[in-house]
Each structure stands twice: as C-alpha cells, then as structure tokens.
Assembly symmetry: C2
Homo-oligomer: 154 residues x 2
DNA sequence: CCCTCGATGATAACGGCTCTCACCAGGGCT
DNA sequence: AGCCCTGGTGAGAGCCGTTATCATCGAGGG
C-alpha cells in the first residue's frame, strides 16, 4: 500500500489548462474527453489505457476503449500528456505539467512495481544533452530497470 | 547493402564474450543462438526482433521467429543485450558491452529516424540517481523524443 | 427546434509477442 | 562409430494491446 496523498491540487490546474486548450482548438465538448481528462488529473503517476478504461467503467461511465485511446492520442499530440513507455508492450500516460514538475520511473523487474522519482540535476543534464544534439527535444522518457529498494534487500 | 564498416572489432569481442557465457552456463551450442548473436555483434545500433528475423531469413538461414525471441530473452536476462523500448509497441535490442560503451537514442517523431548518442556526464548522473533511490539498477533506457537536427531546421 | 457534423462506442481487424508441440541434433556414453 | 537422452529449434496457433471501421448520438449554431 503506497501512501500517495499529494499533488491533486496541481492536477486540478492541469485539468483547466487542458479544457481551455481543447476549446481553443475548436473541439466540441464530448463526454469521453472530459471524463478521461478528469481521471488523469487525479493521478499522481502514469496509467495504462486499459487501466483508465477499467476505472472509468468501474465508475459507471460507459466509455469505449477506442475513445480512451483517441483522447490520449489527442492529448499526447497537444503535448498535454506524456507517453511513458515502460516496457512490456504497454504504453502508459500521465499529465504533462507545462514547464516543470516532471518525473521519471524505476520499473522493478522483480515485483513489477513502478516507482516515480524526480531529480533536478538530472533534468539539467538531459536539457544540455538535447541541445548538444542540435535537435528540438519535445519530451524525454527515462526508465530505470532493476530491483527496487524492497526487492534488492531480499 | 548498407556500408557499415566500423565497430566490428568491438562487436567481435562481444560475440566471444557471449559465446563463452553460454558455454559457462551449460547451454548447448544451438544454431539459432549462434546466428542471432553473430548478427547482433555486427550491428552498431538497435534492431527489432522482426528485423533480426528478416535479415537472417534474407541470409538464407531458416530460423523461427520464436527462436529469435527466445535467444533475445535469454541474452537480456544475462544482461548481454539491452532492450531498447523506443515506443510504438516494438522492442529493439542491441549488444550490451560490459562496463561502458553505452548509448541512448533520440527518436525523431517527424521522420522516424533513430539517432544514437552517448554522454559521460549524463551517465554519471544516472548512476547517482539510481543509487539515491536505494535500488539495484541493472539497466536504464533513455529515449528523447522530438525533431532531429535535420527536421528541426525545416 | 432542427440540422449538421464532430464525437462516441461496439466490434472487427491488425500486429507484435508468447505458447505449444512435434521434430531435430549436440554431445556424453558405450 | 553408433545410441540415446535431453535441450534446442521452428511452424503455427493463440493472446493481448492497439488501431480502424462504421452506425449512432448529441453539441451547438442557425
């Protein structure tokens, strides 16, 4: 049981930002869109499309899996969510907060858990490397693989 | 016929190392194993399982796709190859040179090209972060997304 | 209030990966 | 050298995440 009782305030700000962006781009206000955004705003770590679908269904919402993927794709293209590719052929998604509050993931190959972390100096290095390549880096995706703190003690 | 006439010396060393490791672990010398290892040793950037399969077939070798995945899985578990998850639901693989000569990838979301790069300071930061998490980090997988140097100039 | 067109959701299709299983061959033994 | 046991191999079926298709729904302007 992880204790994760934080970051919901920032999530709300993100939600407003996303809805405003949709309106600005001339999208209509669809139900699936709103509900996916709402769910994502409440999370503090990445979810897979299937997990999003399941939770919405569990909440009584009759969304289609296609809509979930469609919305996630739109959000990713608008750079409002980040695709996190954690291996195993499954993409995960999480809210991308414009300018900061950005984290990465450690995947425990032993117990399968995903642990989020952030590190300022690491971000600085990533920025530097991106620039030195002459590329316009829109996003970066870092995944550490190994045994998490718990599993490595066994 | 691609003209890739470099890094074969290091690749050859890796190949010997892998074959020795297999022998040491008591594996038999199967045909598929040898031929996958040989192909990987010749590469200087990551290949997908399908690409490996196609090239071996094109070379007249009647390997099964299952064998390719099997061998890659064994190699990954022995930490002799690194899985590179570049998105799009496809895993790529490349020789992991023990202790160094390690690189990462920039994926151009525009033209789809994969550019490899390496950076010592970045590696140092990654090591530091891994340690600070208390985890035993076996591998890390970093992918930059954006527009490559060519595409970002357009 | 109606009409148009984007949004939605069920379902089929697709593709990468894994599983299964019969056959093959390495290599220790005689 | 020949045999046998066992691990290795390859073809194909199956699984599952993702994408494409299409009929229906409903937002919102006229």
């Amino acid at each position: 049981m992880a204790a994760h009782a934080h970051t919901h305030a920032t999530g709300s700000g993100w939600k407003q930002h996303v809805l405003a962006s949709f309106a600005h781009e001339g999208f209509r206000a669809g139900g699936a869109r709103a509900v996916v955004v709402e769910l994502l705003a409440e999370q503090d770590c990445c979810l897979s499309a299937q997990e999003i679908f399941d939770r919405l269904r569990a909440g009584g919402r009759k969304v289609g899996i296609a809509s979930v993927y469609r919305v996630l794709d739109q959000l990713a293209q608008m750079q409002l969510v980040q695709r996190v590719d954690v291996g195993g052929g499954v993409s995960r998604f999480e809210a991308a907060h414009p300018g900061g509050d950005h984290h990465h993931h450690l995947v425990c190959d032993d117990c399968g858990r995903v642990v989020a972390f952030e590190d300022e100096r690491l971000e600085a290095e990533l920025d530097r490397v991106g620039k030195s390549l002459g590329a316009r880096v829109a996003a970066h995706d870092l995944v550490l693989h190994g045994a998490c703190a718990d599993c490595s003690q066994k």
